[in-house]
Symmetry: C2
Subunit: 643 residues, 2 copies
């Protein structure tokens, strides 16, 4: 939503468009929506532009110029509501087709940024075809705003417009002919032009159940349509939304939606009061938390997962990592607990947990130290635990070593800190460690090859040594997100056909926002350090079956992790137990090349493999329920993580 | 099957492979199948190649050379049957994975053309992954023969091998865990390597219901597995198949399958008697009809539909057309009936249908005469009807005109035949016609633009004139054909990414063989000539809903047509009413870019549009049931027919 709420006003048909436009914009509205053609003048195959009543069907395009400037960029053109191109009456359908095409072309001729039309029922197949053809053939970029009610509102006064079968019951998510189904059908049929489609979601007086609302949050909603009759009047005579409506509007604000006010004005002070209220609502959103601030601008963007083992991280990346206060506090606490645990244990004579005598010095190896944040965490913990440490700082990135060397000669000078340059899998250290400390976890836990790195270092850990983290588990759940699916389609590189499919077989790191998590995430792979048997393979195969409560489209999978650093100190990106204020990880998002439609009561069964060969690690995945998919990333053809 | 039956013999494990091989081939077998590894010697992670009992697990590869030549090209290697790579026991699964990979690589090292393995149940997901990886990584081309029973044979002696849940009932097509489901799941998961997979279909003692058999006829069956215990012994002591089995084997012979004989030999004269019987069965197939002869070598091949309006047909194409005796006989009969009809009518005084007086001369225009077969049909009909005709021969192909001119100066010299060079839509003729005769129909009726051509000529037809054909209707039905789907995928041009999707959005002309028609075809578009109102558009939109009796995969649609030439004279390619011996048309096959899985009792709803603009005609199509597809060929982006 940028810096301010974008609120538009839906105009009734007016012969005086420009002055209404001017008045709306000067009172604070950002755009207006208007009928492209006279709503009462039906223009079938007309070569003549006026009807038999002499009323012009539309305006001259000169009207849209004011002081020599085009005013179209703040205008949304409404197509005539009576254009049913899916009627069974062939003559009427043909006539409506011609008129719809005329109106679409007139709208794009005017250079309007968006044209809006309303879905009134499930018959939208021919509409989908005509819109697809229009966007295919049109060289002017134009958005199609599809107005869809959030649900069938049984109390809505317009209910006489909708067929009887649709108004009998309040539409729940199990209803197989809800407005969401109309939209789902339209967007599936017209998937060629998906970038041009946006949902204008009409908020009903009676809000539906949560699953219906949540489902819409995963669709490309670009605007909320608020009818004036949804508003109440407060004690001071101003329009306000009921509490529950405020909550819903705020949730959609997070998707950067605009708002369009429609219906008769019910307040003396005019439409401006509605605009002012929505703007107030926008300004009084709860202020974004650290996670939201940190991810601003990155929402729903596909990022390639880091490969810190193969690539040397940049200074910027280190800086971002180091900003995560929560994570390093947790590490310090874990190191503290581990030191206390070991100091207590390492005195064979002591019965008392708190030792009077000086505890033995603990050898701590910081594996993959980067620019040193975990070295400092170790030193602080040592101080706090009153337990002396010898720290070996291991790093293979030569660029990070410059910084570490500098800290060695200044900050850590005189301390028992030793810098070792090299890959932790081929270490040359004079002694074994009591404690390993590492931060090698990716969005999916093991996906930055923490298991392989720590296994490689394990010979340098004492038999009773501790690894921080001591275990981590990845989690998976199916998601619905048309946005994510479209982004992966967009990644296809038309100049490089071999990339065409690869983009839909690669996991991404994504701050998922325009997305619905369909089930409680389930455990996938667990790794424990130190590993009891180093010969044991790190390859894995896991099958998860997810019960689906509400009909959905599965566009992909979201991956999370939980790590036990030590004892009760944990890090989690699990959506229900996310470590507060921790910003280092976005979820891993795993695409499906073909979305799967799944009905309420069906199951989604996911097979996920972690495959290891001598040079790479990669994931392969497939669905077997509701229907078998192909095996994605077979033989690592699209995506491999280099060892 | 080429010129002779290819019958193979399945050998028991033998230390004397070469002599058994030599003996089998010299007695008439074409290939043998053998165990790659000793069936009783389990070789887990063995670096050592012999087991603790001292038995070698397999042979030296020198065994496969005889007189300095490799004998591997007639060998199919069997993978060990115990290799369950989908067991829930992780240690066993890991061990089996390693062994399976070893065996696969050993088979390809030997250069065997095919490796066979058996599906024993629904757990095949990890197997699918391993096979996909193997084919991806393997540079030697090798086929994977997947042995699948046609159905669960409740009387089969091996039933103790299969889980209890599967042997309780005879598997019908409604059974959701039949061997077909196992195969369907495997081929979906491993769709990347579909070209490498072939089904070896095991024929059971008790044949299943027809739908189960029919379903397998649409899968890529490359071989039938016949166990010796399926054979009976005839009065002379030779093995023979029961009548019903003979019939099934003959149906699969049409797919060019090979046959593999397995099981204990039950005849003194040895396995050769089985080979001789199958060879006899193959030789005694009903001889192919004209249609089969004409389409030999074209089965399941994609051909681009002709565009005779845009392209001038070649001499070869005309020759093929003219070979269709049935068609021209039908045309002559239709013209005869039309002449009789008009001659009778054209005498206003006559009450008697048979006129004594000389009937009035009828003006017949042959529109798109090609090399003139319909001119001759007209002249014959005229003679037979004893009704004089003046024939205008209209043709726009300059190359065909040379032939027509030659026939004018010799064959038709002195007859009332007039040659006019030009497009029938822009004719310059001195008089109007009583009868139009044309053969402009494509595989889908109107798809070679007969409606547009005849509409263009219609001003030159008398008001009460007759068009032959006077109407035609297209028909559509969903089909299952993995073969067709794979062919469309193979059409993708990796060097030209813009062709990638186009190949799956283009209709093809295909002699469908490895294919199952899922429903009775339904009417789609009808065109009538002469057209009552020439202003009426030739664009069409039709919605067909097909009930699905048995679970299936919809890979595309097959299109047919029926034409009424005149009165009761018709041409039909409708599969249930195909004009006998008529060879001019193969079905139109319309692909789906994504096959749809449909369950018994569900419906398939197809939307088909015929779109007409000023320069082109094209089809667009979409499914809305069981799930919405995208709109294929939207805006004619992949395929258009030039006007």
């Amino acid at each position: 939503m940028g810096d301010r709420a974008l609120v538009g006003l839906d105009l009734l048909f007016t012969s005086d468009l420009v002055s209404q436009y001017t008045s709306a914009l000067s009172s604070g509205f950002s755009f207006v929506s208007f009928d492209l053609f006279h709503p009462k003048v039906f223009v079938p195959n007309c070569p003549e532009l006026t009807t038999r009543h002499g009323i012009p069907s539309t305006r001259s395009d000169l009207v849209f110029q004011k002081d020599g400037k085009n005013i179209t960029k703040c205008l949304v053109g409404k197509l005539s509501h009576y254009l049913d191109v899916d009627t069974e009456l062939r003559w009427l359908r043909n006539m409506n087709e011609v008129t719809l095409q005329k109106q679409l072309h007139w709208g794009s001729h005017l250079g309007l940024p968006a044209l809006s039309m309303r879905l009134n029922g499930p018959s939208i197949v021919n509409l989908a075809r005509l819109l697809t053809t229009f966007i295919h053939d049109e060289y002017t970029p134009v958005k199609l705003w599809i107005i869809v009610p959030m649900c069938i509102d049984s109390e809505a006064p317009e209910s006489h417009d909708t067929p009887v079968s649709e108004v009998t019951t309040q539409s729940g998510p199990e209803h197989s002919d809800s407005p969401w189904h109309w939209w789902m059908q339209l967007s599936s049929l017209a998937s060629d032009i998906t970038d041009a489609l946006g949902v204008v979601l009409q908020i009903p007086k009676n809000l539906p159940d949560e699953p219906v609302i949540a489902r819409w949050l995963s669709e490309p909603v670009c605007c909320l349509l608020l009818c004036t009759d949804v508003f109440l009047t407060n004690s001071k005579g101003f329009p306000v939304l009921p509490k529950s409506h405020q909550e819903v509007v705020r949730r959609f604000f997070k998707l950067n939606v605009q708002v369009l006010i429609t219906g008769a004005c019910r307040h003396d002070r005019g439409y401006v009061t509605y605009q002012q209220y929505v703007t107030w609502l926008w300004k009084n959103q709860s202020s974004p938390d650290v996670y939201e601030l940190q991810s601003k601008g990155l929402e729903d963007q596909l990022q390639e997962p880091l490969q810190p083992l193969r690539d040397n991280l940049s200074s910027t990346t280190y800086s971002i990592f180091e900003m995560d206060g929560y994570k390093y506090t947790a590490y310090e606490q874990a190191i503290y607990k581990a030191l206390v645990h070991r100091c207590t244990r390492s005195d064979p004579k002591g019965d008392d947990a708190k030792l009077e005598s000086t505890p033995a010095c603990q050898v701590v190896m910081v594996l993959g130290a980067g620019r040193g944040p975990l070295v400092n965490a170790t030193l602080s913990a040592s101080k706090r635990a009153d337990c002396p440490v010898r720290v070996y700082v291991i790093e293979k990135n030569p660029n990070a070593l410059y910084t570490l060397q500098d800290r060695m000669s200044h900050e850590w000078r005189g301390l028992d800190v030793h810098l070792i340059c090299g890959d932790m899998r081929a270490l040359d250290v004079p002694e074994k460690a009591d404690i390993f400390v590492s931060e090698l976890l990716g969005s999916f836990g093991d996906n930055e090859l923490s298991p392989e790195c720590l296994d490689g270092a394990q010979p340098h850990l004492k038999d009773d040594g501790i690894s921080i983290p001591c275990s981590y588990t990845s989690y998976l759940t199916p998601i619905q997100s048309l946005q994510f699916y479209n982004e992966t389609k967009r990644m296809r590189d038309p100049t490089n056909p071999s990339r065409t499919l690869i983009a839909q077989e690669t996991p991404y790191v994504v701050r998922l926002r325009n997305c619905q998590v369909l089930c409680e995430p389930q455990k996938v792979f667990t790794f424990v350090h130190p590993k009891p048997d180093l010969k044991e393979s790190n390859s894995r195969y896991s099958i998860c079956t997810f019960p689906i409560k509400n009909e959905a489209i599965v566009h992909g999978l979201a991956g999370y992790f939980e790590a036990v650093l030590f004892d009760d100190v944990t890090l989690s990106t699990h959506p229900q137990r996310h470590s507060p204020q921790m910003v280092s990880w976005f979820p891993l998002a795993i695409p499906l090349d073909r979305p799967q439609h799944v009905r309420a009561g069906e199951h989604v069964t996911v097979h996920l493999w972690r495959v290891v060969d001598s040079h790479h690690v990669w994931y392969e995945w497939a669905l077997t329920e509701p229907r078998p998919s192909r095996i994605h990333n077979a033989a690592g053809q699209a995506y491999k993580i280099a060892l």
